[in-house]
């Protein structure tokens, strides 16, 4: 990774590499901007690299960039290419085959919420340390829900691939299927509990590489779709609206859920839409920049068993 970044910067192929470096807290990495070959030596990559850096492509659109992308990130980049938001020749994609990202909340559960003062990445997982404890955790135990059924660990699009290709996992929508099987009242109660947590900081929207509207519907005042206050109903309105706007676009990278400071189960809605797009229309987002968009196209034979009055 460092070698690849260093070479790109030395050869002037790019003038900025965006990757990850260790953050200031244990278990955290932060986006890192390397402009010189020396800075490239601070780059790291491991299962704690939870941000989707593709978001930065939209902001740094004037420079020739080197961008570190995981499998899912590459798919979101494909969606951006398809939507003509970025130019392919502006970015040198440094692909990293990814075996899954760690969900810090699950780690915290495993250590019963004790304060973690140190963490170390091993081959199999991570070792976390705190006052009076040390725990060896396997990556697979604490994977994000999106990573558990990830078929695209190896980026679908890259210029340089760092590391060995990884094996595709078996698709897994077990969580969504189980939830669908619950009675509507229980589903609603679950969402009511989740939505009550939301403080409407919009972190989920702000980290999402595909949320790039210049005016989001939540900020619009004419019409004002929903109230600014973080009331459950308005939160629900926001999350349904956002999820729907990502229908056929969301690539299940899970960055929104990881960015959420209060742990709202955002992937329930997103993954439901991904599953529906697949089941109803055989559509998977972010595999091919030439792919038509799901919701602005149609097939005369689309299912319509729901039509009232037949």
């Amino acid at each position: 990774m460092r070698q690849a970044a260093r070479r790109l910067l030395e050869e002037n192929t790019v003038n900025l590499v965006i990757g990850y470096a260790w953050g200031t807290l244990p278990l955290r990495t932060a986006p890192f901007f390397a402009r010189t070959p020396a800075e490239a030596d601070r780059l790291v990559y491991n299962s704690l690299c939870e941000n989707n850096l593709v978001k930065y492509l939209l902001r740094y659109s004037k420079e020739k960039l080197g961008l570190v992308v995981k499998g899912c990130d590459a798919r979101s980049l494909v969606v951006l290419l398809r939507e003509n938001q970025v130019q392919r020749d502006r970015v040198h994609i440094i692909g990293v085959p990814c075996t899954g990202v760690i969900d810090r909340r699950k780690v915290m559960e495993l250590v019963d919420g004790q304060e973690v003062t140190g963490a170390e990445v091993t081959v199999e997982g991570i070792v976390v340390r705190g006052e009076g404890f040390e725990k060896d955790i396997k990556t697979d135990e604490v994977l994000c829900v999106s990573c558990r059924g990830c078929k695209y660990g190896t980026p679908v699009l890259y210029d340089t691939l760092v590391g060995e290709e990884v094996r595709a996992r078996e698709e897994n929508f077990g969580d969504i299927r189980a939830f669908e099987a619950l009675p509507p009242s229980e589903r609603e109660a679950y969402f009511a509990q989740e939505m009550a947590k939301c403080i409407r900081c919009y972190a989920c929207r702000n980290v999402c590489p595909l949320c790039y509207c210049t005016e989001c519907f939540v900020d619009s005042s004419r019409p004002q779709w929903l109230s600014r206050r973080p009331a459950t109903a308005d939160n629900f309105f926001f999350h349904l609206g956002r999820a729907y706007h990502l229908a056929g676009r969301c690539v299940d990278c899970g960055a929104c859920a990881r960015a959420c400071p209060v742990g709202v189960d955002l992937m329930k809605l997103n993954r439901k839409l991904i599953k529906d797009a697949k089941d109803l229309f055989g559509y998977e987002a972010g595999l091919d920049p030439g792919q038509p968009s799901l919701l602005s196209t149609f097939d005369p034979n689309d299912p319509e068993r729901f039509i009232l009055g037949g």
Partner: protein, 143 residues
């Protein structure tokens, strides 16, 4: 809010067919319940899911979207994209716990005044059975 109030239904009717069908139903003196509040849209392709959520948020118990039959769209394919969007959105709302039947899509051509009358009757019946919508979109602050 009284439990036994009459249902409120918001109908988004396509200018070129369903809205004309509603006119025809009126002109033909067909009887149908008065619960449907018609909103004219240029095409079902104009429908934004936010309209539907806003309707539910602001007091509707059921929503009807009615457009031209597939193949008859004034804008060639507005109703077909609407159908696809609707199927995704409907499924999402149901997943999130909004009862099936609150959100409806149908095709009514300008000549089908009778169909408009019978579908509004059917829908009003359904909305009465479901009762007032008290789901999460209707929650007040602090609840």
């Amino acid at each position: 809010m009284a439990e036994d109030r009459e249902p409120r239904i918001v109908g988004f009717l396509c200018n070129w067919c369903s809205y004309a069908a509603a006119d025809l139903a009126g002109m033909s003196r067909f009887h149908y319940p008065p619960h449907l509040c018609a909103i004219r849209v240029p095409c079902t392709g104009r429908m934004n899911p936010l309209f539907v959520m806003s309707a539910l948020r602001r007091g509707a118990d059921a929503v009807l979207i009615a457009g031209c039959h597939p193949g008859d769209c004034h804008y060639v394919s507005g109703n077909l994209t609407a159908r696809r969007r609707f199927s995704v959105f409907r499924s999402l709302l149901e997943f999130a716990g909004v009862e099936e039947g609150r959100l409806n899509l149908t095709w009514i051509s300008a000549a089908e005044g009778k169909r408009f009358a019978s579908l509004s009757t059917q829908l009003t019946q359904r909305a009465k059975e479901l009762g007032p919508y008290k789901g999460m979109l209707r929650k007040r602050i602090g609840v």
